[in-house]
Structure formats: structure tokens, C-alpha cells
């Protein structure tokens, strides 16, 4: 908020005509840049740029939030086309908040903020330390009034100090005066508010660098150990090492989902037991909005699905015996997934496409009729068997394999039933039906700093907006047996409401010093402290 930048002046005026413009040296350039960064107008422009960036991020899909839409934009399926998408990619517009120019913008704002704040803090400390200054020519101030009081000047001043103290004025005795002021926290609050952003930034950076986020899907009865390889997907911060994992074991004892009568979900609940070195430490429920916090790691409920227990046998040999995690298959009553059997011979690979309907009653014609109930009251598992060279050895996503000419055979199973497939050489058993639960495990170390920063921000914001600086002087001089008390005040902000505040101080003072209210039309008195209550006819037309 310093003034305009003035370019360095040449020592003597050069003759007009061909003349090179003043080119500032490197140091001078730096100084000019620093001055410009410190200006409020620059901060405003940076703020607008930040706002513009967030508009862009709202309109264009962002990779960290909606990766799928970004893929669709890149391939040109949706959005403005693949060519435009390439340009957007080049500019980092698919990850605005992770792009270099957004970082540059943030750095610019921080530098500008620092440039603004340092001199302001210095000035604030200076002003806050300086005691209230004595006032001169009190009668000439616009808010000023004179009281006659029966007390001696010393007593009157002491009373004034009490009155002003109750109103949280800082007071100082200067000769026959009490000088008082309040409202420093307008500037102080503003400084605290702006300084809190450093804390927020620090907390965010700490969270990014030292934090960790991983997700894992567990079938009921399943367990995982908190190690890097256990997670299905992990986003460790740069400084979150393998050794920083806690190594505890979390077991999903039970998962439960309840529904409203219209089949919208009411609650998801994972019951998890945590153990360390084989010792059970804790059993707790994890629900949406009720995460489990343990040794700096937080476990969140983020997803769920059906997990049928499927056993595949060839004769007596068990080829597969596991709970298969099914993903939503369209609607809350349908689930789908894949089970692959690891066989050495690439020509006799086995895979199953599984589809589960939770509400499949038998119709009159013997065919199942699908109902809308998402609770597995009448589940049926449709398993389609694939056999042959399915390309399972290739690194492909879990749900993918070479489906070739379609399934060899399809069987419909109820829980506890077994079907013979492929002329009886294979049996598929649907042993029972359970759930799987998706958990997110997060380590967010900067949280308390962020919370402190947010609290400071609010604490600073309120006085910076609602506190106003006022100065009041009370002077008492001997006047016969009593004293003549002059009260005067100045408002540095929001002068409109100061009239009322000043009147309140004066009337409190009048009570405290036992002064009689002055006769109404007191000559030489203050028009300010007693405004006309209503427009009077005498008002100049």
C-alpha cells in the first residue's frame, strides 16, 4: 500500500531529442518489482487471477477429482475435442491446482502478502506501544462538550479514568488530561487475519509432504497390515517413507448396510479390529462421518459391495476359494465382478464372470424376476465360465481377460448351492454371501496447524471488520470549588456511529462526576453531541 512507483530520476535534465529511456539497473529493477508487489492493487490483481483459476477449474474437469471425465476429454469422446484437450494439457488446465503457474501465483501472493505485512506489523507494534497522546484545542473538535462538576479536578479525572476503563479504552494521564484511545485491534486483527495464511499454507504443505492416503477393499473376515504393498492404491507424500507405516493389522469383522424404505442407504458400518503383534488392541465401528483414528492414521468408510464366497473345484482339487469383490453393476440391486483361476497351462485357463442380483424371486414361469430391494434377501449368482487361452498372464486390469467366443457355460446359483460345469469336470459353489468394505487410510499431519490457522484467521477477521479506532480526551481544570471538565473525541473510522458512542461516554461521565445536565440551549456548546431529533421547520429550506 505504498504510493506510486517513481522511476529513478536523471541527475540533470538531458536535452530533448534522441534520448534512451532510463533503464534501471538490476538492483533498481528488483526494488521496483518489490515495491510493485507490495501494492494493494497488485494483491488485488493476484486475487482476481486466483479467482479466475478456480473458475477454470470448475468448468474444466480436474484430474485429481474426476479423472474419468479428463480421460474422456483427452480422447475426444466428450468436451471440445482431442486437439483442444492437448492444448489444455500443455497448459496444465486439467490439474489447475497442481500446475506450475498456480504455484507461481501462490508464491506471488505470499511475497506480496509478506511485503504488505512486514511494514504494517512494524508500524502496528510502534503504534500499539505508544501511549495515547495528549490532545490540544479540545473545544475545537467536532465532538466536544463541557461539563461543570462539583468534584476537584483530580477526582474528576480519576472518575473519567474509571468510565473510560469500563469501555476498554487505553488511558494515560498527561498533565490535567486523561488521554484515551481504543480500537487498535482493527489493524491488529487485520494483521492476524493475513498472517494466519502462512499457517494455513504451512499446514497444507506439511500435509502434502509428510502425509499419506491409501485405499483398500476388504471382504468380511479379511485383514490387511498397514504397509505400503497392502494398499490397492496409495498416495504417499514425498517424505512419508515405507518405514513410516505403523504396521498394525486391521481386520474387517463385519460390515452392515441399512436402508430407508425407499431403498436409499441409511448407514454403512464396518466393524474393525485392530491388532499389533498379534495382540488385539481395539475393536471399533467405522461409519461415514465417524472415522476411526489410531496412532495418527485415520480409517474412513468410503465404499462397499457384495462379496460372494465362491469355490471352484476340478474333481477334488480346489482351484479357487475366495470371497470375490463385486462392484456395482447398475442399480443398487445388481453387482458384477470377475474371478480368475491361476493355472500354469496357458491353454486351460479358467475365469468366471459373476453377476449378482440381490432381489431375485422366482416367477411363475420358473425364471427369476428382479426386484428393487438392495438387501440380499433373495440373492442369485449368475456365473459364466470361460475356459481356454484367456490371456490371464498378461498384465491387464482385474476385470479384463480375453473373452473370445463367450462363456462355455452359465449357471445360476443360490447361496449354498453347487453347480457342475463343463460336463461335470468343474464344480462352482456359491458358499455364502457377505459384504466387502472400502476403507481409506489417511495420515494428515498438518491438521492441527491448519485448524490453528483457521481459528486465528477468524479471530483476526472479526475485529478487523468491526472494531473502530476512537480517541477521547478528558481535561479538568479548577473552577471555583469544583472543576470544569472538557470532554472531546475523534473517530478515525465509522464516524456516523461515533456521535452516539460519544454521547454515551459523556452521560456516563456526567453520572460519575455528579454533574448536572447542562441547560438545553447552552451557548458555545456542541451542536454535535445533541443532534436535532427530527427535521425541524427551522431547517433552512
Amino acid at each position: 500500500m505504498t504510493g506510486t512507483v517513481s522511476p529513478p530520476k536523471a541527475p540533470a535534465p538531458l536535452p530533448s531529442g534522441s534520448r534512451l529511456p532510463d533503464i534501471p539497473g538490476p538492483l533498481e529493477t528488483l526494488r521496483i518489482a518489490w515495491r510493485r508487489l507490495r501494492r494493494m492493487a497488485t494483491a488485488l490483481q493476484l486475487l482476481f487471477a486466483l479467482a479466475a483459476a478456480s473458475v477454470v477449474a470448475t468448468v474444466i474437469p480436474q484430474e485429481p477429482v474426476t479423472a474419468q471425465s479428463v480421460e474422456q476429454w483427452r480422447s475426444g469422446v466428450t468436451g471440445p475435442g482431442a486437439g483442444v484437450a492437448r492444448v489444455l494439457d500443455e497448459l496444465g488446465l486439467f490439474d489447475v491446482f497442481g500446475s506450475w503457474w498456480f504455484a507461481a501465483l501462490t508464491v506471488g501472493l505470499v511475497v506480496s502478502l509478506t511485503g504488505c505485512l512486514l511494514p504494517r506489523w512494524r508500524a502496528f507494534v510502534r503504534v500499539a506501544r505508544r501511549p495515547p497522546a495528549a490532545g490540544r484545542n479540545l473545544e475545537r473538535l467536532s465532538a466536544s462538550t463541557v461539563l461543570s462538576c462539583p468534584l476537584e479536578p483530580e477526582q474528576a479525572l480519576r472518575a473519567a479514568e474509571r468510565v473510560l476503563g469500563r469501555r476498554r479504552f487505553r488511558r494515560r494521564r498527561v498533565g490535567s488530561q486523561v488521554a484515551a484511545e481504543r480500537g487498535h485491534w482493527r489493524e491488529g486483527g487485520s494483521l492476524v487475519f493475513h498472517t494466519a495464511f502462512y499457517l494455513l499454507l504451512l499446514g497444507a504443505v506439511i500435509g502434502k509432504v509428510f502425509g499419506f492416503a491409501g485405499s483398500i477393499s476388504l471382504a468380511e473376515g479379511g485383514a490387511f497390515a498397514d504397509t505400503r504393498i497392502a494398499y490397492d492404491a496409495a498416495q504417499p507424500g514425498r517424505e512419508f517413507d515405507l518405514g513410516d507405516h505403523r504396521g498394525f493389522v486391521a481386520r474387517l469383522d463385519d460390515f452392515d448396510v441399512s436402508y430407508f424404505p425407499d431403498f436409499t442407504p441409511r448407514d454403512f458400518r464396518s466393524t474393525v479390529t485392530i491388532s499389533e503383534d498379534g495382540q488385539r488392541v481395539r475393536t471399533a465401528d467405522i461409519r461415514v462421518n465417524h472415522p476411526l483414528r489410531y496412532r495418527g492414521m485415520t480409517l474412513y468408510q468410503i465404499g462397499f459391495g457384495m462379496a460372494p464366497h465362491v469355490v471352484v473345484r476340478a474333481g477334488d482339487q480346489v482351484l479357487l476359494d475366495e470371497r470375490v469383490l463385486l462392484a456395482p453393476g447398475g442399480g443398487s440391486n445388481l453387482w458384477a465382478g470377475t474371478a480368475k483361476v491361476k493355472v500354469r497351462d496357458p491353454d486351460s485357463q479358467i475365469a468366471l464372470d459373476l453377476a449378482l442380483a440381490t432381489d431375485a424371486r422366482l416367477g411363475d414361469d420358473g425364471q427369476p424376476v428382479l426386484g428393487p430391494d438392495p438387501r440380499p434377501r433373495n440373492p442369485v449368482l449368475v456365473s459364466s465360465l470361460y475356459f481356454g487361452d484367456l490371456g490371464l498372464e498378461r498384465p491387464v486390469p482385474a476385470a479384463d481377460f480375453d473373452r473370445g467366443d463367450g462363456p462355455v457355460e452359465t449357471a445360476m446359483l443360490r447361496p449354498g448351492k453347487t453347480a457342475k460345469l463343463a460336463q461335470g469336470s468343474l464344480t462352482v459353489e456359491f458358499r455364502d454371501l457377505g459384504y466387502w468394505s472400502g476403507l481409506q487410510v489417511t495420515h494428515a499431519p498438518g491438521r492441527s496447524i491448519l485448524l490453528a490457522g483457521a481459528a486465528l484467521l477468524l479471530v483476526g477477521l472479526i475485529p478487523s471488520l468491526y472494531s473502530y479506532r476512537r480517541r477521547i480526551w478528558v481535561e479538568a481544570t479548577p473552577d471555583g470549588a469544583g472543576s470544569r471538565v472538557t470532554v472531546a473525541g475523534v473517530a478515525l473510522q465509522r464516524k456516523a456511529t461515533f456521535t452516539d458512542e460519544f454521547d454515551a461516554v459523556v452521560s456516563a461521565l456526567r453520572d460519575a462526576v455528579g454533574s448536572r445536565p447542562p441547560p438545553r440551549p447552552e451557548a458555545g456548546s456542541q451542536p454535535y453531541s445533541q443532534p436535532e431529533p427530527a427535521p425541524s421547520p427551522e431547517r433552512s429550506p
Binding site: M1, M40, A41, A43, L44, L47, F48, L50, A51, S54, V55, A57, T58, Q62, P64, V65, T66, S69, V96, F97, E187, A213, F260, P261, T264, P265, R266, D267, F268, R287, V288, N289, H290, P291, T298, Y300, I302, Q440, T442, A444, R447, L450, A454, L457, L458, L461, I462, L465, Y468, L492, Q493, R494, K495, A496, P531, E532, A534, P535, S540, P541
Partner: protein
Amino acid sequence: MPNESLAQLSNTLFSVALITYIAAMVGYFFRLGFTRFTSQGVVAGTAAGRRVGLLATGVAVAGWLVHLASVTTRGVAAGRVPWANMYEYSSILALGAVAVGLVVVQRRLGYGHLVGFVLAAAVLSMTSGLLLFTEAGPVVPALNSYWIKIHTSAMMTASSVVIVGFVATALSLVKDTAERRVAARSGESYVGSTVGAAQVGAAAPAGAAPDDRTEGRPDGYEADAGVDIGAGDGEWASPLAQREALSPVLFPLVPAVAVTVFVLAVWRAPGAAIVAGSVAALLGTAAWYAVPFLPPAAKLDNLAYRTIAFGFPIWTFAIMAGAIWAEEAWGRYWGWDPKETGSFFTWVLYASYLHARSTHGWRGRRAAWVAVVAFVALLVTYYVVNLWIVGLHSYAGDI
């Protein structure tokens, strides 16, 4: 569990309140039409205007009570706080606006002849709520937290407050234009009462309050709550000249186009767009008619600043509460979800407004325009992000 008959009752009461508000609005506009300037420069209704105005006040109060009953039964029927989706939010917003209109605008400030506009805003909000109607029902698990009470009600309070701020800003820009044009026509050297005054006036010292607008004004300028024409008998036609200084075509046209485009964009309903556009045109004409009756621009501008300065910390708190909630529900406190981005964007713009008010070269009309843009951002965050853009906040019509 949703109680069917109570929910039905709530809907009926909502319709009754809406119709009552429309009737009261007509009454208030009638009162405005019969408001005159007296030689003292204050407004006074004719006998007929006063009587209809009194009736309109009664009708509005009755409508408000019915509306309150509707919101309460809705909450009881759904067995939760009645602000979990956009329909309920629009309803509560209107409830708050009418309360502010009756208590603050009419009783405290004495601008009873302008309450018709507040009622119009309430009717618009309730109509937009009807377009987003959701049956009374429970919320999804992610919303089932005590944070819904904290975060959402803080957001609602802040939005409601800054809506008042926006209306005051927009009116101050209009009034300022009128005041400037009238002054320019009469060839006076203009000192003082406009929004631009601070820009023209001497540079305020650094750190001075941005709302030091009242300085340098003639004594008693703000003495009464009525319309101040700032001059005496000889010139008391000048407030009406303010109306003539403004285009009677643009006033209905701009809101009509804006509202039509907005409704088309958000709901894609041409019929509703035409109706809403016509209503906006009528309101624009009414606003044009009411320009001379408005408070001075400086007063409106000051009101705008103070409401926004009041709403801003609440908005800040609401974002923070949202971050804490997001940490609990989604496992991260900030993820640049479209709604988060939108509310951050709105926050940055309102912060810019507050900064602009105390920045040399930005005070006055420029700062006012920043506030207008910030409000548009709020609308976009609220409607467009909810209904259009896929993110964690999109529960199809939920907040």
C-alpha cells in the same frame, strides 16, 4: 420416517404462504404507487395508499406465520433440520428475507414503501424452490452428521446476508447513476453524496475505515428515514428528475434478459423462463419507478458494505466448517471439488471487494461492481454447480 400427512400439510402451507406473499406484494406496490413527495422532501402515502399499505402489512405478517408453520412441519415430517435440499433452502431464504423486510426495512429503517421488492425477492426464491421440489425425506449417510446443522446453516445465513448486500449494491449503483446524471444536467458542481464520492474526495489515510462515506455531507443529510432530496422547496421536483435521467427501456430489459437466460441455463424450461423473464421485466419497471424513492446512493452503498462485512466472516466460518466436515466424511479437508472451488472463488471475490473498498483507485463504483460479480459467483456456485457439474456435492437438488 417421513410423515406423509404432515409433509402434505407443509406443502399446502407453502402454497398458501406463496399466494399470500403475492397478494401482499401487490398491496405494497399499490402503496408505492400512492407514495408522494411532500414539500419537506419526505414521502407520505395518500389515505388510500396508507390503508392498502396497512392491509398489505397485515397480509404479509399472516403469510409469514403460515410460511413459518410450513417450514416447521417440514422439519417435523422429515425428522431432521428443514434445510437439507435446495427446495427447503429456498423456502428458508424467503422466510428470512420477509422477516428482514418487515422488521428491518419497514420498522427500523422506515422504508415501508419499498417492502414490495423484498416480497418480490421472496416470491422469486420460493418459485425457484418449487422448480427444485424434493419430497420430504431423509438424507444420505454422508449428510447425516451434526455438521449439516453447522456448515449448512452458516452457509445459508451468509448467503442470505449477502443477498441483502447485493440488492443494496445494485440499487446504490442505480441511484448513483441517477444522482450523477441529475447533477450533471443541472450543472451543479457535485460534492458528496454519491458512491463515487470517496473516489473523488481526498485520499483517506492508510488503514482508514472504508465506510467513511458520511463525511463532507451537509448537516442533517441523513436525519430522516424518508427520501432525502438534499434541497429545498424550490427544487423538490428533482427526485422525479432522477427517474427521467434513467432509461425506461433498459430497466425492464436487462433483468428480463438476465433472468430468462439464467432460468434457461439452469432448468432448460422455456415456459418458466418466459414467465420469470416477464416478472423480472415488471420488477425492473417497478424499480425504475421507485428510483426517486430510494435512499441516497451513499447510504445504500454503506448498507451494502456493512451487510457484506457482516456476511463475510460467516461465509469464512462456513467454508472452514465444511472443510472440517469433509475431513470427517470424505477423508480430506479440501479436494477442490467443484462446490469447494466455487465457494472459495466467491470468498476470494468478496475478500477482493473488502480490499477494494480500502484501496485507492478501486473505491466507489469499481468496488461495487466487484460485489456484483461476487454475487453472480455465489449464484453460480449455488445453482449451476449443484445442478450441472458432477462432484461430491451433487446429490441432484441437494445442497
